[in-house]
Subunit: 387 residues, 2 copies
Amino acid sequence: MRRQGWAERTRSIQAFHVMSVLARAKALESQGHDVIHMEIGEPDFASPAPIVQAGRAALANGHTGYTPALGLPALREAIAASYGERYGVDLDPGRVVVTPGGSAALLLIASLLVDPGQAVLMADPSYPCNRNFLGLLGAHARMIPTGPQSAYQLTPSLIESHWDEHCSMVLAASPSNPTGTLLDRQQLQAMADTTRRLGGHLVVDEIYHGLTYDCQASSVLEVADDAFVLNSFSKYFGMTGWRLGWLIAPPDAIPELEKLAQNLYICAPHMAQLAALAAFEEETRAICDERRLAFQARRDFLLPALRDLGFAIPVTPQGAFYLYADIRKFSDDGSALCRQLLERQHLAITPGLDFGDYRQHEHVRFAYTASLDRLAQAVDRLDRELR
Amino acid sequence: MRRQGWAERTRSIQAFHVMSVLARAKALESQGHDVIHMEIGEPDFASPAPIVQAGRAALANGHTGYTPALGLPALREAIAASYGERYGVDLDPGRVVVTPGGSAALLLIASLLVDPGQAVLMADPSYPCNRNFLGLLGAHARMIPTGPQSAYQLTPSLIESHWDEHCSMVLAASPSNPTGTLLDRQQLQAMADTTRRLGGHLVVDEIYHGLTYDCQASSVLEVADDAFVLNSFSKYFGMTGWRLGWLIAPPDAIPELEKLAQNLYICAPHMAQLAALAAFEEETRAICDERRLAFQARRDFLLPALRDLGFAIPVTPQGAFYLYADIRKFSDDGSALCRQLLERQHLAITPGLDFGDYRQHEHVRFAYTASLDRLAQAVDRLDRELR
């Protein structure tokens, strides 16, 4: 009998275009070319020293075994306390679930909230993994075209007009990847009210919280106690390689999430959890805030420089480390433009196609995860190619 | 409108009974009772010193960022080389996928091989997470009753008689959790041949390899190049809390698995991958083999002692650190017996119900993850309760 092929779902999961950009960039580097990397969503800083030190101490003290599935109680308490300080939200530590990365947090939440055949509303553009997670569960993303008029975010009226009986959840992100735009407290409140009235669950990706400029991000928990929050130690705290995130859920969801966590991954890495306790120390915060200012300086340099070159960035991004740029002045094919910049100028950026379907050929994403000097060189290379 | 409830799949995922045993054991301990823990599948040794040292060095050297989704090339090479040494199998490192724990390895494989509505054949009894993974994907486990006559393992004829057009995969485990029994090379070969002829995929959980007594375990890769293998650094290498495993797959599966890994978890923890490189050093192997001998001594003590008390363990377990015991001499309700032993003797073991449905009321699992002294005390307590 002929061997069965791969499962159907593998066909709906596209490899990220950024991965082929990265592979080609590395090939060019191995030929001796000086490639400027602005394609990857990873801070260009190692983890802050107090976090590394706490991780080393955890290992030296033999903390190499499993932890409870929901996470170490001390870390759940520290995370909960941070909501009081940052947002004025009094949060029960019992509502915090520590996860192996923000990825696992989303997998848990989607497993809890979305049945096969159901749909999740999200903005087009948005972070590409989110769509693919849903495919795994037999569900799908209903990507709603958004543009500058709503800062590339969903709105109550967009939710209302795209919601039907097949929908179970709305997924928003503030700050958004790829656009860096935020939802303010009033917008979050209106979104929560609308989603609740429609009978759905609101999930907000707050993974880039901390990395905001000119403003403080609001958490949806300030205005909606029944919303779900995704977060991570990867971005603001610079802990990508440790694989550690968390989620906040309503109390009655916790026993279900605990069962899912036990089955899906047992627990998050133990030493990472102990290291993350140091994330809330004064010394670490000072380091992280210094880095935030470095990102802000980069945005403040790169944003006007790209606009000056002719990229359209109609909404000023206030968070994350991305600029999502309309390239129509130069091209109607973002992927071709990315290839051209990589091959001729050795500048690596991400084509819009990774983030959805709506007008993605007309967009690219710049990650300002490189030093100011390198960004200045990148602008020179763009100028050389596009003027 | 009424808020939607939790997804249907949450209803099919049972919490593990062992978790309520553990919770009650901790409550008894907090009241000052001396509980002997034989319920948890975690070695009672911390990670070997060279592994811990390598992890600390990785952190000191700033290796805190993402790695490639398939794992660090050096670790994939080291794992591949170990197949040459252990099993005489010449394995291309490109077929090795490093994962965040054995859990993620199974999630990747099941996502690749099983469509919604399809079934996976596995032995009853078997490791409980496996069933629940399939529920997540809209598929299900077809649990095949097994007993001492096949050493609680599937056989070609069991596979053949339970296979139909809804099946896509056979999942075997050697050594098995909970029974500690192995499949030898001939059995693996026959199982691979049968599964291939039926058009299915064979996946073998080899997570307890290294922890075998009286014999060396064979890998299915010795006899079937097209099989999938699950493995982990948790058990033999004592790295549970680092969350690190791996899988071996046929070459044409790797690009699909890479896409799934990128989407599902980005990468395994970086410092854990660097620490695991030390697992293959001579010094670490010496430590691990010493521990193996300690487990063997425990088995050699506990197995005859339990048989002597009247537990039926008809097949001598040759691997892992579990004894799966028939309790009919004492009770027809394993869960009640577990409660009784915990409440009256402060001895924590796992009810058979965690491992399937077939005659599970008549079984319990003992984990010999406690010292010989403690095991002797456990036997005394059993004697006091059951004689």
